[in-house]
């Protein structure tokens, strides 16, 4: 379970997030919606530790933690970026296994095996040895999801998962997210795509732009 209490973030004195409170229960899907510039992505970046907050507290399973300095523990927060940010110099399999072999200190064989299983589960079975430039947008996104899952995250965050995809792929992303929910994954999805948000959400958070 993830809890945020009074999270505040300013950029150059301009308040972007003003005391955000929220709770996401285990296995639930929270969607964060709102117009551009309202701070959806900023909130996600704060939760994943990419942007330090100016005030407020985070709790993961009741334990206080600071995402910005959260490193050597198992409270991993996975992120699927809007533009995926796969590593272009590594194959699909290497993209997935790099972090687990480096950080979790597991042997390469079991890491590879787990990665293969995850790739197959997301319909990427034959793609392990391809490089990212050889994949379609939807395939890249699925690789990004597998890469995040391989770190056994407590929480998986998505930034605008439908924005870089063809409209007919939206349904596919929905399915992936709902399947992961069935397996118990806690997920946070930032999107401006309302029908998509409504289909997958257990809970919706609407952020509005702050008046200057």
């Amino acid at each position: 379970m993830l809890e945020l209490k009074q999270i505040t973030k300013k950029f150059d004195g301009k308040v972007i997030l003003d005391g955000v409170d929220l709770t996401v229960a285990d296995g639930q899907i929270l969607t964060i919606v709102g117009p551009s510039g309202a701070g959806k992505t900023t909130l996600l970046r704060c939760i994943s530790g990419l942007t330090p907050v100016d005030g407020g507290k985070f709790f993961l399973d009741g334990q206080a933690f600071d995402p910005a300095t959260n490193r050597d523990n198992d409270a991993v927060i996975g992120v699927v970026f809007q533009d995926f940010q796969l590593f272009p110099n590594l194959t699909v399999l290497q993209n997935v296994t790099l972090a687990p072999t480096m950080m979790l200190k597991k042997d390469i064989k079991s890491v590879n095996q787990e990665a293969q299983t995850l790739l197959e589960r997301l319909n990427l079975g034959g793609k392990a040895d391809l490089y990212p430039y050889e994949l379609s947008g939807g395939q890249k996104q699925r690789v990004a999801i597998v890469r995040a899952l391989a770190m056994h995250p407590k929480l998986l965050c998505y930034d605008e998962p439908t924005s870089a995809l063809d409209p007919d792929l939206r349904h596919e992303v929905e399915q992936i997210i709902l399947n992961l929910k069935q397996q118990g994954m806690t997920q946070i999805v930032v999107t401006h795509d309302m029908p998509f948000a409504e289909t997958i959400a257990d809970q919706m958070l609407r952020v509005e732009p702050k008046q200057a």
Binding site: S48, Q85, L86, F87, P88, M103, P132
Partner: protein, 213 residues
Amino acid sequence: MHYVSEILPSLISGTGMTLSIFFWTIIISIPLGILIGLGMLTKFKPLTWIINLYVWLMRGTPLLLQLIFVFYGLPIIGIVFPRYEAALFAFILNYTAYFAEIFRGGLQAIPVGQYESARVLRLTNWQTLRKIVIPQVVKIVLPSIGNEVINLVKDSSLVYVIGLGDLLRAGNVAMARDVTLLPMVLVAIIYLLLTAVCTLVLRRLEKHYSYWR
């Protein structure tokens, strides 16, 4: 033909000097260029000012002038280099500045998102640099490095100004002595062979890195 075989030994020994300047400059100034290039991107302002001043001086004045200053100028303030070391010092200083600029450009071409995605995967800075950033930077900078390498082959001929006997000087001596342009034709052919080998090696390297894009 007889004349060619007569002057060839002196040309070959001149080529030795050219190659020695070339290799030592490459071997030392590429790693230094990476370090200085990284230094240009630090947030510690005084360091970036010093580096920018250095790069401006090195790129803003002729290499020929720098050679003269190192060999004839530095002794005035008590720093005396023998000829060969003076040449090497000047070349390394000069080429490091160019390489640093190239590596800075390469490093800046890596999207912030690559660092962020490495960070959320909990890779350390060193792991990110080694596994993600450097392989991508190498691929980006290879064509520009290649240009500088080819330039260096020919720039090495400037060492004549402090009295070192390189390939061009060997040709020059033979030309003045025998009043014929033939030595210079041979010199040109040797330079062309050297740059052809460099071009070939660089092509190979670029091809090696073409498995991803």
